[in-house]
Symmetry: none
Subunit: 213 residues, 4 copies
DNA sequence: CCTTAATCGAGACGGTACGTCGTGTCTTTAT
DNA sequence: ATAAAGACACGACGTACCGTCTCGATTAAGG
């Protein structure tokens, strides 16, 4: 029920009759309502009043917890992806990479993607925090990528020299970029192209690293 | 107006000196005002009324030409980058690539970047058009990249086999991605990293291309 | 607001001293502002935005209470004439009648007249209500007329047979009609003419009443 | 075709193919279109642009001839009632009076009434002209009333002393007043009441005229 | 157990921008 | 020169959402 993508009253347990909610319980209800609204109308048409109504609470209760829409959405996303995803382990490097990109692509094709798109324009309390929040949306993915590559080096599939920060982060970034421009869903062909034409060649190239003339 | 549903307006006399502007002239005035406002308040606070005021015209004249803010901004950008930029020609491939990325990075650090950020969230008349508009914002850059690489192949700096669509587009995409997350200005170090750690290795690697098991 | 269809507003701080007005207090402020604007610019140039500004509130607060300008004006008038005016009692019938017509004429020479004129063209929610509202603007006057005439019959100044609905209502109607055509102020000569040439003759004529052949 | 109360293109002869209209011909087309629009949408929703469109001409041609909507409507009405109506002559005074009031009442139940209502609020170029225009709308009726009453005095039905300006004008004024408040159609009962309870008694009362104490 | 302070639910409030419509003026083109 | 067509500048319309505030009802904690 965390983020049922449909249903007009999804994500809101009926609270009437019961005692008035507060604290943690209310927090959860609000965040669930946020995700539900996000899935239903998208970030652009996300309205605080609607979220409050869906959560059967008031706008004041929202603003007491989060200063604005952007922060609320950030919190809602943080709540959602609570369970840590294990790094894919298909046996082959290529399989792992593809699995990871596919997982990321699929995540974008949903309310996470909606939120990502919206948060790309909003400015949080300050620029640093804004950048931090945006970056955090992808740290999980970057970490998994690191795991995969480390495992590959241990297996001897790729040289240790191939590992550098740019190589780790660039593939997911390309997926994001495609999503932001062309939207979801992301064609699997693109993912295969990134892996086969860019990532694997880069990872397996002979270690010289001297391109500076 | 007593009986009219809309205001009487009482036809205010035109106060400006010259003749009333029309057509192309007015178009230009509006688009310039749009760019000026964009640079001043950013996409988020861009308001049709303010643009109209700055252009000394009316909202109606804006809406007669463009159906909404997003389309207006798109048109303004299209007008702005009228002059085709020549591909950099520094003599070396690396120099050309760096020059190109730096040009793109600098463009993002201004009202073009503001607009890019905004247009990433807006939905134009339909999804296809939306994607098309977004893609068009980068076609110039991609074309220049093609020129540079072609020249390099002619010089024999890189094998023809290195050229494929993914290789052409991915470097600018990484710059954009960084901009969207961390904002402008984009550190030159990042650009150098992209060129030295990703682009040049990929372009100069031995031709095998067979990674599919 | 980047992604929101409506403005960001950025929640301007309340600048006034006292606590935020609500309910009855705000109602009164709005209605008073309405009357003030009415007196200043007339019904024709009466604008909701101006009224809101004068009342230091927002258009939304106006529209939450009244669906349109006409209803707002009706409400403002209703509020204004709260104090019931006592029927004139000069001792003589002629004196009473003149006093009443003069009171009505004077009322028209002000914002009440402005409103009357405007409301003659507007259509309220439905025709019945429209007629009712218009009629109500004059019920007070008609009632006073009834009182005067009743008192005169009690004194024996006029026969009971003289009293019929047409006789009661027609004098004020003539005043209104003159106002609508020639505007205010209404010449006292007209009022005297109505009383001496029409009303008194009618009221004091010998009781036959048989004009139907 | 002068004022067909229905039909989307009523009142506009097809002019295309033929030579471009000007002068009198165009005047007529515009005035007919005005009346047609008036009948169709009423004074409140009367729009210059719509009139121009219906007359297959331009707003400029309208404003070249009349300075605003009100004057245009006045002109249109003047054109319409071109043919002078003969005073009713039923043989009896009561019959004549009733016929006259009925004619006036019927006239109000149509586009003339719509226009009357609208013109009650508009201010023409200056107050004098405004009053004059409004008064002129009823001069025809007043003149007929004079004729009727004169004929009655000649017949000896009523004393000459009964004739005074107030008596002449007040009956039609009551009809107008009722129309403005309760709208059209005007119940025949009202007209009979005015004649029997007010007009005839006043006209036939014994000549004393001294009510001033 | 009964006060007392806090918080909740509900929604009013002041404000800003929206996109539309009508007015009366002006410009252009075709007749 | 004038008609037809319609663009233009202006301003009011009525709506939507924001973020703040007020109010009464409910609830947890303190005496």
């Amino acid at each position: 029920m965390v983020a049922t993508p449909a249903g007009p009253a999804a994500g809101a347990a009926d609270h009437r009759k019961g005692p008035r909610r507060r604290g943690e319980v209310l927090d959860t209800a609000i965040l669930e309502a946020t995700l539900a609204e996000l899935a239903e109308v998208g970030y652009a048409r996300l309205a605080m009043g609607q979220i409050a109504a869906r959560a059967h609470t008031s706008k004041a209760s929202l603003y007491k917890r989060w200063p604005n829409r952007a922060e609320l959405v950030v919190a809602a996303l943080a709540r959602q992806r609570g369970e840590p995803v294990p790094a894919p382990d298909t046996g082959s490097l290529r399989g792992d990479l593809l699995a990871l990109l596919r997982w990321g692509a699929q995540r974008l094709d949903g309310l996470f993607g909606e939120a990502v798109r919206g948060l790309m324009v909003e400015t949080l309390t300050n620029p640093e925090r804004t950048a931090s929040v945006r970056a955090n949306m992808f740290t999980a993915r970057d970490k998994l990528m690191s795991e995969i590559l480390e495992r590959a080096t241990e297996r001897g599939d790729i040289p240790v020299t191939a590992l550098n920060p740019h190589v780790i982060g660039f593939a997911p970034a390309l997926v994001d970029h495609h999503f932001l421009i062309y939207g979801a869903p992301i064609p699997d062909e693109l993912l295969r192209g990134i892996v086969d034409d860019l990532l694997l060649p880069l990872l397996t190239l002979p270690a010289d690293g001297a391109h500076e003339p």
